[in-house]
C-alpha cells in the first residue's frame, strides 16, 4: 500500500481513539487545555439582550416567561447547558417562569430537576416564583397552545405535580398569551413553529420568542431570525459558551469549550489528510 493510500485508509479505530482523547482530555481533573475566549455572535447577544430588556420593562417584567424544555438526555451537553444558563439569568433578574415539555417526556423531569437544583440558592420557590406545566403529547400540542393563548388555566389545567394551575401564586393574573412576557424554547428537534403559529398575538406587539436548538438544527432557524420572528438564538453548545461569557458565570459549557474547539480541528485535520492522500495517489497514478 502506498503512502497516499495509507493516508486515505486510516483504521477507523485510530480515528475513534483520537476523537475520544481530544474530547476527553480537557475534562480530566487538573488538566487545563488553553482555549481563547469566544467571539460573541449577534444572535447570542440578542438572546441575552431580550431577557435584559424584559427585566427592565416595569410592565413586561411582571409577566410569565414560558420555558419549553423540549430535549432529552441525548442532547444534555448542548440543551441543558443552554437551559441552565438561561434559568440562572431569569432568576438573577427575578422573572417568574413556567416550564413546559411537549416533545420528549424526559424533558419534564430534566427541567423540573434543574430548576429545583438552581432555585433554592437563588430564592426561588416552586409555586411562588416558578412552576412546571408538565408534559403534553406533541400531537395535541397545537390545540393546547391555541387554547392556552386565550385561556391559560383552561389549556394547562394542572401542573406537573397535579395541583390546579389556578391555585399557584406564580400563575396569579396569567389568563392568556397577553400575560406572557416571553417564550424560550430549548429543542433537540423541530418544535419552534408551534409557538410562532399558535402563540402569536396578531392584534398586539409580537411576543418575544427565543430559541435554543442543538447546533445541527440552528441553520434551519436563520430565516426566522432574519424575519425577526425570533428575537435571539443560542446555537448549540457554542451558543451556551458565549451566553455564559455574557453572564460572567462559567458553567459546563465553558468547561467544554476546549473539547469542542479541538474536536472541530480534528475533523478538519482528518479531512485535509484524506485529501492529501487522494492528491498524492492521483499524482502517482
Amino acid at each position: 500500500m502506498t503512502f497516499g493510500q495509507r493516508l486515505q485508509k486510516l483504521d477507523r479505530r485510530w480515528l475513534y481513539l483520537l476523537t475520544a482523547l481530544v474530547i476527553g482530555i480537557p475534562f480530566l481533573p487538573g488538566v487545563r487545555v488553553p482555549v481563547p475566549a469566544p467571539v460573541i455572535q449577534p444572535q447570542t447577544r440578542a438572546y441575552y439582550q431580550a431577557i435584559e430588556d424584559l427585566a427592565s420593562d416595569p410592565v413586561e417584567s411582571k409577566k410569565l416567561v414560558i420555558v419549553a424544555v423540549n430535549y432529552g438526555a441525548g442532547t444534555l451537553a448542548e440543551n441543558q447547558s443552554q437551559c441552565e444558563a438561561t434559568l440562572k439569568h431569569l432568576m438573577r433578574k427575578k422573572l417568574k417562569f413556567a416550564l413546559l415539555t411537549f416533545i420528549d417526556p424526559q424533558g419534564r423531569d430534566l427541567g423540573l430537576r434543574l430548576a429545583e437544583r438552581l432555585g433554592p440558592s437563588r430564592g426561588y420557590t416552586y409555586g411562588q416564583n416558578w412552576c412546571s406545566f408538565g408534559f403534553r403529547p406533541f400531537d395535541g400540542v397545537n390545540q393546547i397552545l391555541k387554547t392556552m393563548s386565550t385561556d391559560m388555566p383552561g389549556g394547562v389545567v394542572t401542573d406537573a405535580k397535579g395541583a390546579a394551575i389556578e391555585s399557584l401564586p406564580v400563575m396569579a393574573g396569567v389568563r392568556s398569551a397577553d400575560d406572557v412576557g416571553m417564550v424560550i424554547n430549548f429543542a433537540s428537534t423541530q418544535s419552534i413553529d408551534v409557538w410562532l403559529q399558535f402563540f402569536s398575538r396578531p392584534d398586539k406587539s409580537a411576543l418575544p420568542v427565543l430559541y435554543a436548538p442543538t447546533s445541527i438544527m440552528a441553520p434551519e432557524a436563520y430565516p426566522l431570525l432574519r424575519s425577526g420572528q425570533l428575537k435571539g438564538m443560542l446555537t448549540g453548545l457554542k451558543g451556551a459558551i458565549e451566553y455564559e461569557a455574557l453572564l460572567k458565570e462559567p458553567g459546563f459549557a465553558t468547561s467544554a469549550s476546549a473539547s469542542l474547539s479541538w474536536a472541530h480541528f480534528l475533523i478538519i485535520g482528518l479531512v485535509i489528510l484524506g485529501n492529501v492522500g487522494m492528491y498524492l495517489e492521483k499524482k502517482r497514478v
Binding site: 480515528l15 438526555a73 403529547p137 395535541g140 390545540q143 387554547t147
Partner: protein, 263 residues
C-alpha cells in the same frame, strides 16, 4: 360535557365511554366492508373540518374566539386519549412478543429478559416515587433515571460523534467543483463556530471593511445570505406539498397500497 370530572362522576364517564366504544366497535364490525370506507371518510372530513373552520371563522365581536375555539382543548384531549390507546397497544405488543420468546427459550431470549427487566426497572421506581415519595424511593428513582436511563441515552447519542469524525474523513474528498464548494463552506462554518477557529482571524479588526473577513463573520454570512434563502425556498416547497398532502388525506383522495386495502 367538556369539564373535568372527579370521583364517581369520573368513574361513570369512563364506564360510559368504554360502553360507547364497544358499541361503536360492534356497529363498525357489523357494517359491510364497502360501507366502512365511506364512514371513515366522513369522520375524517368532519374531524379536519373542525380545525379548518376554527382557523378561518371570524372571531366574536371584541373577543378572540369563535364558537369552535372553546372545544379545541377537548379535541386535544381526544388526541391524547388516542395516543394513550396507542401506547397501551405498544406495551401489550412488546410484552407478549418478548414474554413468548423467553417462555419458549427462542434464539437471543436473554436480550428479551434484559428488555423486560429494563421496563420494570424504570416503571416500578417511577410509581413508587409518586405513590410513596420518601427519600428511599426518590433515591432509587434517581439511580434508575439519572444513573441509568439518562446516562445510557446520552451515551447512545454521543456515539454519533465518532461516526461523524470517521464519515467526514472518508466522504469529504475534493472530487468535483460542487464537492469543493461544499467542503470549503463546511470548513469555514466549522472554524467560525469554535473559539480556536475564531482565534485564527482574531488579528483582523472587529470594525470596518476588514472585519468582514473574520472567520466568524464569513460563517455568519454563509448562514444568513446563502443558507437562509435556500432553506426558505425548500420550506416553501415543503409547505405547498404538505398542503396538497393534507387536502388529499382530508378528502380521502389518497391512493396507494395502504389506503386501498379492505378495512
Amino acid at each position: 360535557m367538556f369539564t373535568s370530572k372527579a370521583g364517581l362522576a369520573l368513574a361513570g364517564f369512563i364506564a360510559m365511554a368504554a360502553l360507547l366504544s364497544v358499541a361503536i366497535y360492534a356497529i363498525l364490525m357489523a357494517l359491510p366492508p364497502k360501507a366502512r370506507k365511506p364512514l371513515i371518510a366522513v369522520v375524517t372530513f368532519l374531524s379536519g373540518a373542525i380545525y379548518a373552520l376554527e382557523w378561518v371563522w371570524p372571531v366574536d365581536a371584541g373577543g378572540k374566539e369563535n364558537f369552535l375555539t372553546p372545544y379545541l382543548k377537548s379535541f386535544a384531549d381526544i388526541v391524547t386519549v388516542l395516543q394513550g390507546f396507542a401506547l397501551g397497544i405498544g406495551i401489550w405488543s412488546i410484552l407478549t412478543v418478548h414474554l413468548k420468546r423467553v417462555a419458549q427459550r427462542r434464539e437471543n431470549w436473554g436480550f428479551s429478559v434484559v428488555l423486560l427487566g429494563g421496563i420494570l426497572a424504570m416503571l416500578i421506581p417511577y410509581f413508587l416515587k409518586d405513590v410513596h415519595p420518601n427519600g428511599y424511593n426518590k433515591a432509587i428513582y434517581a439511580i434508575a433515571f439519572d444513573g441509568a436511563y439518562n446516562s445510557l441515552n446520552a451515551t447512545m447519542y454521543s456515539v454519533v460523534a465518532f461516526y461523524i469524525v470517521s464519515a467526514a474523513y472518508r466522504a469529504f474528498r475534493i472530487r468535483s467543483i460542487e464537492a469543493t464548494v461544499l467542503l470549503g463552506s463546511a470548513a469555514l462554518i466549522m472554524l467560525g463556530q469554535v473559539a480556536l477557529g475564531q482565534a485564527l482571524t482574531g488579528w483582523i479588526p472587529t470594525t470596518g471593511f476588514a472585519a468582514n473577513f473574520r472567520v466568524e463573520n464569513v460563517a455568519n454570512w454563509i448562514l444568513e445570505k446563502i443558507n437562509s434563502p435556500a432553506l426558505q425556498a425548500v420550506e416553501l416547497g415543503v409547505g405547498v406539498g404538505t398542503l396538497a398532502m393534507a387536502l388529499r388525506l382530508w378528502l380521502s383522495l389518497e391512493r396507494g397500497s395502504y389506503f386501498e386495502e379492505d378495512v
